[in-house]
Structure formats: C-alpha cells, structure tokens
Assembly symmetry: C2
Homo-oligomer: 296 residues x 2
Amino acid sequence: MLIALFFIYILAIVSGYVPLVIWHGMGDSCCNPLSIGRIIVDIKHMAPGIYVHSLQIGNDIVEDTENGFFMEVNKQIEIACNIIRNDTQLRNGYNAMGLSQGGQFLRAVAQRCPQPSMKILLSVGGQHQGVFGFPRCNADHSIFCELIRDSINLGVYSNFIQEHVVQAEYWHDSENEPLYIQKSNFLALINHERDVGNLQDKNNLQKLTLFILVMFTKDTMVEPKETEWFGFYAPGNTKKLIPLNESAIYLEDRLGLKEMNDAKKLRFIACPSDHLEFSNEWFMENLMPYINGTYQ
Amino acid sequence: MLIALFFIYILAIVSGYVPLVIWHGMGDSCCNPLSIGRIIVDIKHMAPGIYVHSLQIGNDIVEDTENGFFMEVNKQIEIACNIIRNDTQLRNGYNAMGLSQGGQFLRAVAQRCPQPSMKILLSVGGQHQGVFGFPRCNADHSIFCELIRDSINLGVYSNFIQEHVVQAEYWHDSENEPLYIQKSNFLALINHERDVGNLQDKNNLQKLTLFILVMFTKDTMVEPKETEWFGFYAPGNTKKLIPLNESAIYLEDRLGLKEMNDAKKLRFIACPSDHLEFSNEWFMENLMPYINGTYQ
C-alpha cells in the first residue's frame, strides 16, 4: 500500500501537471463514480499522472452530500482550507474546479486561504452573484414561481436559515438589496457588500493566474443564469440584468475584478446546454486545456 | 406548458422507442445533471424523442438522496411501483436501467409489480446476491477490512438496522448463511431464500424479454464484484466464489433464472473499469443498443 502511494506520488511529480482540486455541486458528493468520478477518469486519461483531490466535506459521502445542503458555508470553507493545507501534494500550488455552488465556494477558498496558492480557478456554473429563483422557474415568470419566491423571501435572511440552509446563504433578493447586504451570511461577505475595505481578501483573489467563468446559456436551474458570469438583476428589479462590467462590484472594484479583467485574467466561456449538462467533448475542448496547461 | 407536454407526448409515440425507467445508485439522485442527467442527455441524443423517467423516491432530490441510504427498501419498491403505475407514458410497457443498487431494486419491481410490463432490465453493477465487504476493502483481505466486516456483522441483521439502513438490507453474510436467510429484510425475500414456492414473483420475472447483467471487472467498491453477475461466496466461506450456474438459486431454479438462461434471456456483460466508471463510448457501444432496440 505504501509502495503504491509512493509510486502515485512520484508519478504526480514526474507528470508535471499542476494538481487539481475539485468541489462538487449541490446534491452530489466528492466520490460519486457517475459524476465527479467520471470526470476524474476522463481527466486522468488526458493528463496521465495528474494528482486530483475531490473535496469531501464530512466523514463519508453521506455527510458530504448532506453538508452540501445544510452545513453553514463559512464552516465548509474553513474545512476545505484545512483539507487543502494538509494535503502535501498541493503544497506547491494547485488549480481548482468548482461545479455549480462549488464555484463560489472555491472562490471563497481563494480569497480566504492564500496558502498553498490557487493558480487557475475554473468556476463551472457557479453563482457568484447568488440566485433569486427556484430551479425550473426562470422560464416564464409564472405566478407559481413568483409565489415560491415570495414565500422564500419571508424567512431566507433569518439567522437560523442563514446558518442551516446552504442555498439561503447565496440567496440574493434583488428587490430588497439592503436586506441582502445586511443579512446574507456568506455571499455578501465574499462579495464585500458590507466590508468594502477588506484588502487582504481582495489581494488574495488577485493572485490567481486565471479565473475562468463558465455560464450555461440554456440553464433552467439557476436564476438568473448570468450570475455564472457575475451578472445579476439591477437592484430593486427582477427582470433587468446588469452584466459584470456595469455592476457596482466591478465599477468600485471591490474584489479587484476590474483589475483582473484589465490584466486579462478573467475569461468568460459560454456552454450551450442546461446546467452542468456539458458533453465530454465540450469539456475536453473547452476546460481540459486549463487543467493540462495547454491553453492559449 | 400544456402544449409543450402534448408535443413531448406525441414525439415519444412517434419516435417508436420503448420508454426507459432509470433508478439511480447510492449517494446519487434522480436528477443530478452530472450523473443521471448526463446519461439521459446522451440517450436522448442517440434516440431522439425517447421518453425517460428517472425515479425520484421522495419529494425532492434531497429526500431522494437520503432515501437511497435510509429508507426501507421494500417501501422504496412500493413507491417506485406506484410512480411507474401512475405514469401514463409507461402504460404500454417500458425498459428499465438500474445503476448499482438500483439494479436489484428494479429487479424487485419486475418481480412484484407486473403492470405495466417491464421488457428489458439492464442491471449496471447491481448487487443481486448482496454484498459482504466495505467499499475499497476487497483488494487484499487486510486485517482492517476484516475488522470492519466483523463489526458490521454484529448488528447488521437486527430489525432496526434492517429497516433503516438500505445497504444492510442487501448485506449477505456468507459466513452465517442461516442468519442472513432468516433475518434479511429485502435481499433474502427477492431471492426467495425463505419462501421457495412464491410462483407469482418468479413468473413475473420470466416475463422480461431480456435481463442484462453488467459486472465491473475492476470493481473496488462492491465485494464481491461477482454479485453483479449473481455470483457469491460459497456458504461458510469468504474467499471461494460460486458463479450463478453453480449456485443453489440457479440449480433449484428458485427465480427461474435457469429457465431464462436456457431461453437466452440472460446476458452477461463485463465492463473493464471500476464501479460505474464506464466511458461514454462504452455505454453507447454496449448498453445503448438495448435502449434504442438495435441489439442483436
């Protein structure tokens, strides 16, 4: 067993590939062979010897799955940082790929935990400006969907919900921006809505070599899908969308995203499918180059 | 919305493909876009217009995932039967594909719920003779793995565990066959260990056109992997493996498997990978023909 581990270690060094950390999405786990497992097999096939660490938050895959729904996100980030810090294979730095909510969680890791250093961050359908709608409810703004949203709004920013429902921690009520800014326990923090002046956090994000943002153009799960590119509804509005480069977070450069964009560190990729429903071919063509270092 | 549903309905009829029911594996859900979702996209791409129903046990994907660990299997089968019975698109029959434990669960559906009729059953890594070991513990029969197994054996057949831990319900203690036969709340029932004479259940299984059993030849999750082909350890043994055609269930033809084999209704497929880690190409070549009706 020790010999095998040693062999893997040597192989990973010899391969020359930057190690990869993955954070799964909601309703998934580190080690589901059909989802993350399948992606890892494909990655290792294309980049033999690469070291891949798929984060498990909790003691087993049951806990990992449940925590994706119910564990306070700030605590999850802390756990992830510890796992990454204690993995000696990552000590010289790593790339990171977050699927769906794993995208914004890994951004928080980049902002809060600079050691070891994250190099490229791939956010695949991450909700960087949060969500304001329920899955399958963004198509027609039906009365039913509006009702669900109104119900959620009643309690989503209570302390209890903020500490126990992961998705509430990135719920972004554009019709009541002041409440979101005041009460959001995770998203408003990493987006510097309350503490504009946190330089350390901003500086850490700047250290990324590249920040790749993938948006699914036919996304029916995430509302609005533009959040995957840091876009969101205008304050007080539920229809008008503001892209990143016209948003306050960019114009005030609270996160340093303008600076990163000017330095060509931001890349925006559109995937023509529903949420996370990319094909193997699409993944290989569009994301693999960032993992095996062959990107232009 | 109604027009869209009507259109899908007409398309499904015109397409001529037999509808497909899918049951996910442990730690997964009906609607994980990276796992079952991805497979459905691939299937629909190759068989346009096919109707696919991925079973959700519970009110949402959180419950569905949790139930895969903690809901009594007999209850899950009953729920699945009701869902299938109430789906009018399935009323003329359907094919079924079970991933991992979904394989033995769908076999139970075939045995217990003959209406509407299941035509082809694809068991992809299903554990038809149960399991006797923990994931990643089948490689070397190490002391650690044996200890885990011994600990599990202490309580696995208690009524409480049998009713609340899904995986315990197909735990098959080959060192104590009589205890397994007496206490197993699910597997011993569907394998007719206690009620050899249940003809109805056996007759229902016979109605399948084909029963396809996929085994992963490099499986490190399922012990023994041969259970995926209905093989298992010899009674009183943890090393000697007995294949289906030498086992009691076959020789006594308790399930009609001998009869089905003689009628060439059983097919055994080997997939050269770890558990469920098949490639897209392998799936298309080996399983898709059964879904789109082009098999030989």
